[in-house]
């Protein structure tokens, strides 16, 4: 009995210590699959808004930029981070707003949306 309990603890322990890369990689593969299925369902008429929207979404890289810019001391790594925040900021606002502007143009015949 004790040996079984030990085995279980070891197994659970092994799970808790799974390499962060394997964990990240699992998330990555699943996200690629989700993306694949969701994007095939996008109507071809909206492929341009899809591109401007994904442009805004890939600017999620701002999360990394904020971490780079986080410390108070203004050394090279921090300044690089701040520039990256600005660049990602252009894309986030530009991407979402231009998508909104395009989508607002798509109307049905009766004048409705």
């Amino acid at each position: 009995m004790t040996s079984m309990a030990e085995t279980i603890t070891q197994t659970v322990g092994a799970h808790a210590a799974v390499d962060p890369f394997i964990f990240s990689f699992t998330v990555f593969v699943l996200a690629v699959l989700v993306g694949y299925h969701v994007v095939w369902n996008v109507t071809p008429a909206l492929h341009t808004p899809l591109m401007s929207l994904t442009n805004a979404i890939s600017s999620i890289i701002i999360v990394g930029a904020i971490l780079a810019a986080a410390p108070l001391d203004m050394n090279t790594p921090t300044v690089l981070g701040l520039v990256a925040v600005g660049l990602a900021g252009v894309n986030i606002f530009g991407g979402f707003l231009v998508t909104r502007r395009m989508l607002a143009m798509f109307r049905k015949r009766d004048g409705g949306k």
Partner: protein, 466 residues
């Protein structure tokens, strides 16, 4: 402040919002809400990151965000819809550059991300991820800038081909990977920056041989790269939010590239090797162009034909957008609809200069989207159509793609305009299209050519119909 688990859950929620945003694009009705969900997801991710304990530099971060936001907002309001491909290419380059800057920052200061090893250096696994994220980011940056220059007309759209081009690229690629591997094993700065410098040059060299006609593929491909670069940075920082969003964008761009390649019947490898859309094919296409009779008509003749038709299918091409004729066309279509003619639009996937570009251009001109149909949806209906009106398009209607195995566009899916009772081409001249090919349809008995600028022709048609 918030525990690390709460932060991770908030990132999860933000990721779900972003997936729902993409899902919203399955129809124009749900798309607006989808975009809003995307904004909420992004705001949540940024907000949660900003409240982390290690983030202290608030003043500067908000200043940088404000400057970027204002620039982005102004550009988004001012940009013309015809310039959308350039804007998208430019934005890809920004994502690429941001990825590179973050990678350099992480390389210089790994402690800042909590990824340093005991000695304060970067662990090997993170080095590999950093290498991948930063070189993809750098290629995205320089390649997108060149694509932007070509689309904007700052650089000639003609492919630049020179001897030894591909061996040179291969060699540079090998040196880049070698430097990258050396960085992965040693962690030294010099090979890292050498690798980045080569990636910068390689991005330029990869795009210069690619002609204007292939730009839809390239823009889609760079869309994909920008996603992979973000995912690569996410791996380095062990941040699931970046990995998920990057993977979504990466697969989206890959699918769009595939769709564009299929619509042009070209393989991705073929596009990347470049050289297409130059001067060479024009000579081959010119052989049949000499001395064949065409029937040229006036706007009045065309108006008569259109007025008496029961059904009209309009095939718009990029020439329409160049002439800025969308609004005049819409006016003409309204007049026809008022007279009881059934008018619809047939869109070839590569009608514009990026995927879905023509749909946006027509939407801007207030053409209702339920009149606008994709090629696969409408192609069978040309047989029941009285008049096919082709404006500023050529290659996408060329029956040689179906019948002539020697044609460079053989196998490319085309719109079956030749099945319609009558054909109307509005074209500036008989000059060949992007692929440099003559079109047999110009010389048919049931074809009428209106040699004019698309905008002027549509305006004249409006007068004649009124």
């Amino acid at each position: 402040m918030l525990s690390i688990n709460v932060v991770a859950l908030a990132y999860l929620i933000a990721s779900v919002f972003i997936i729902l945003a993409l899902k919203g694009l399955s129809s124009p009705e749900s798309a607006r809400r989808g975009n809003l969900l995307g904004m909420v997801g992004m705001a949540l991710a940024i907000g949660v990151t900003l409240q982390l304990d290690e983030v202290r530099n608030y003043g500067w971060i908000f200043a940088a965000l404000a400057v970027g936001g204002v620039i982005g907002g102004v550009v988004a309001r001012r940009i013309s819809m015809t310039a959308m491909p350039q804007l998208i290419a430019f934005m890809h380059s920004l994502v690429g550059l941001a990825a590179v800057l973050i990678a350099i920052s992480a390389m210089l200061n790994p402690e800042g991300y909590g990824i340093a090893d005991a000695a304060g250096g970067l662990p090997v696994a993170n080095r590999i991820e950093l290498f991948l994220g930063s070189f993809i980011g750098m290629i995205t940056f320089s390649a997108s800038l060149i694509a932007f220059g070509k689309l904007q007309g700052m650089i000639s759209g003609r492919p630049l081909v020179f001897a030894g081009q591909h061996p040179l690229n291969l060699m540079l690629g090998a040196v880049m990977i070698g430097a990258g591997l050396f960085f992965c094993s040693s962690g030294a700065g010099a090979p890292f920056f050498l690798m980045l410098a080569i990636a910068l040059v390689l991005g330029v060299l990869l795009i210069v041989p690619i002609g204007g006609a292939d730009m839809p593929v390239i823009v889609s491909m760079l869309n994909s790269y920008s996603g992979w670069a973000a995912a690569g940075i996410g791996f380095t920082l062990n941040n699931t939010m970046l990995i998920i969003a990057g993977a979504l964008v990466g697969s989206s761009g890959a699918i769009l590239s595939y769709i564009m390649c299929k619509a042009m019947n070209r393989s991705l490898i073929h596009v990347l090797l470049g050289g297409f859309g130059g001067d060479a094919p024009a000579a081959a296409g010119a052989k049949s162009a000499v001395d064949r009779p065409v029937k040229a008509g006036s706007a009045e003749d065309a108006a008569f034909l259109l007025k008496n038709a029961r059904s009209v299918l309009v095939v718009p091409g990029y020439g329409l957008a160049v002439a800025r004729a969308q609004h005049a066309l819409k006016e003409m279509v309204d007049l026809l609809l008022k007279q009881g003619v059934k008018v619809r639009f047939a869109i070839h996937p590569v009608a514009g200069r990026m995927p879905g570009h023509m749909n946006v251009l027509l939407a801007e001109a207030d053409v209702p989207y339920d009149l606008v149909h994709e090629m696969d949806e409408i192609n069978s209906e040309f047989a029941d159509t009285d008049v096919a009106l082709v404006i500023g398009a050529n290659d996408v209607t060329n029956p040689a793609a179906k019948t002539d195995p020697t044609s460079p566009i053989y196998g490319m899916p085309v719109l079956d305009v030749d099945r319609a009772q009558h054909l109307l081409f509005i074209k500036r001249s008989l000059s060949p299209g992007y692929a440099g090919l003559d079109n047999d349809l110009f010389y048919r008995d049931n074809t009428m050519m209106i040699f004019s600028d698309a905008k002027k022709a549509c305006e004249l048609l409006v007068q004649a119909l009124d």
